[in-house]
């Protein structure tokens, strides 16, 4: 079926819109009684608009995009995992080590030769670290390299 992507998106948005609108109706009436506009008024309008939009998408979807499959999808997933791990390890490992690993892995996966990739990571990490910590007085975590 053509336009499957848009239809699935439409369905997802419909669920989101209904949940969003329904949640808005559950809030307790604000202190001091209800006025013309409560906290739920605006979200209710939004959910109605989104319901209409998502229905339209499901009825008249655009042609499908090309979705990455196989190896490309795997590469995307790897990049994503690298980003999440980078965020996770930034503080424990320290900025320089974490960045060398993250930038190195990313540029290696994007096609650079491993040595050059990790060298790029190391150089950029050190430059940014020095610039931020000494030049701009913004502290980035030193982590394992901390000299105390």
């Amino acid at each position: 079926m053509s336009g499957l992507g848009d239809r699935i998106l439409g369905l997802g948005l419909l669920v989101l819109a209904v949940a969003y609108g329904w949640t808005a109706q559950q809030w307790p009436e604000p202190f001091g009684g209800a006025e013309g506009v409560g906290p739920e008024t605006f979200p209710t309008i939004l959910s109605v608009v989104l319901v209409a939009g998502s229905l339209y998408l499901m009825v008249k979807p655009d042609p499908d995009a090309q979705w990455p499959l196989g190896k490309t999808a795997l590469e995307l997933l790897i990049s994503l995992v690298v980003l999440v791990i980078y965020a996770m390890l930034l503080e424990p490992l320290g900025f320089v080590i974490a960045t060398t690993l993250a930038v190195g892995t990313l540029s290696w996966r994007m096609g650079a030769r491993p040595v050059r990739a990790f060298l790029t990571g190391l150089v950029s990490a050190v430059v940014v670290f020095v610039l931020f910590n000494y030049g701009l007085d913004l502290s980035l975590p030193a982590g394992l390299l901390e000299v105390s």
């Binding site: 008024t41 980003l83 994007m110 650079a112």
Partner: protein, 508 residues
Amino acid sequence: METLGFLMDGFAVALTPYNLMFALFGAIVGTLIGCLPGLGPANGVAILIPLAFTLGLPPETAMILLTSVYAGAMYGGRISSILLNIPGDEPAMMTCLDGYPMARKGRAADALAVSAVASFTGGLIGTIGLIMLAPVLARFALTFGPAEYFALFLLAFATLGGITGKNPMKTVIAATLGIMISTVGIDISTGTQRYTFGVLELYEGIDFILAIVGLFAISELLFFVEIRVGEGHRKINVGKLTLTFKELVSTIPTQLRGGVLGFIAGVLPGAGASLGSFLSYTLEKQIVGRKGTFGEGDIRGVAAPEAGNNGASSGALVPMLTLGVPGSGTTAVLLAMLISLNITPGPLMFTQNADIVWGVIAALLIGNVLLLVLNIPLVGFFVRLLSVPPMYLLPIVTMVAFVGIYSISHSAFDLYFMVAFGVAGYFLRKLEIPLVPVILGLLLGPEMEKNLGHALILSDGDWSILWASPLAMGLWLVAGLGLALPCLVGPLLRRRMNAAIKETPVSD
């Protein structure tokens, strides 16, 4: 003449050595952002926001920095158009048509020089237009009540897709999603917790800066991973400058026409820089007629679109500064900077934050001069950077985005959030849901709700106040047109733009 006085004050702000330094820095970085593949102007400015923010720059300096980046990006876009036939950003598309043929004839240096001068003229005309129009519009906007503002915001969303936009319904969906994200957090007027799910980090709402950086920078990285163009471009030889003074003079009328047309396209909602450069190019082709060699490397074909897109980029600042309603992606990101500096954009800014507004305007003028001076001698340097392969560049850009977001709050939670927004941005872009309305929704959502509330309180709950005044009515009408026109005129215009590009005989 009051304006002139303000402008002088603006120059006093912009010409302090400190601000001048940032303007210069911004101009260089902006040109880089414009010419590097995979780093569009909106994306580039977005990454710089957290940095400007954490450096604790004074508001006027931060704005001057980002405005210079913005102006610089418009200059930079042309470099890869001319040398590689790949537009650095969307408005530079039309520059490919004659710029690349010129480069193939060995006149790359001339094309770069002419386009730099034309960019300067366009930018200058646009800024002069901004100086004349903005105060008038701001004074007019003071008469707006909450109902008019509400309608104005709707207009901004409706026209954001642009006349050339594809599916207006997707613009509506995108804007709604953005506004919905902005409702997360504690409601300002009643104190009700909305969509926080008891998560402490959500009480203050979702920081739009991290949303913007995630949506742009992270999704861009993912796109590059997907299309796998890690390799750089081959090195290009620019050659010697053979441009004669007479030739340059002969393009002056072209530049003037292009600049004015571009400015008008920039101010109008829904047109933008791409349409500005397209119109200038087509008009020029009409005027010159058969005497020109358009499409085969006519010098006027380089001057016209460049003047047009730089005129438009200054023009796009008019609605952003006077009404607080940006007309393009990059101006939306500039608006984000203003809001995070605690400055309420809109007509009051001209009285309350006159130093910032006029400082920014003066910085635009100074930036244009700086850019012209920089671009002629440094063009070799920028060209060399074009051959930096994205496989090194994009990971580093991503790292800078991480650093920026991390240094705002020093929390890893924000980083996860940013990555999540990046993934969402990737899927939205894949599904052709435009990102700019999402961002505009995030930024304008709270204001929109506030104005709706005020309007209804004034009318005692009567909803008809929203379209009661003729002005509000007019705004609703234009908003409706903004959604309807793309369906009617859009396909035609798009076809023409594509046809114009395909006509070029250089595709090899």
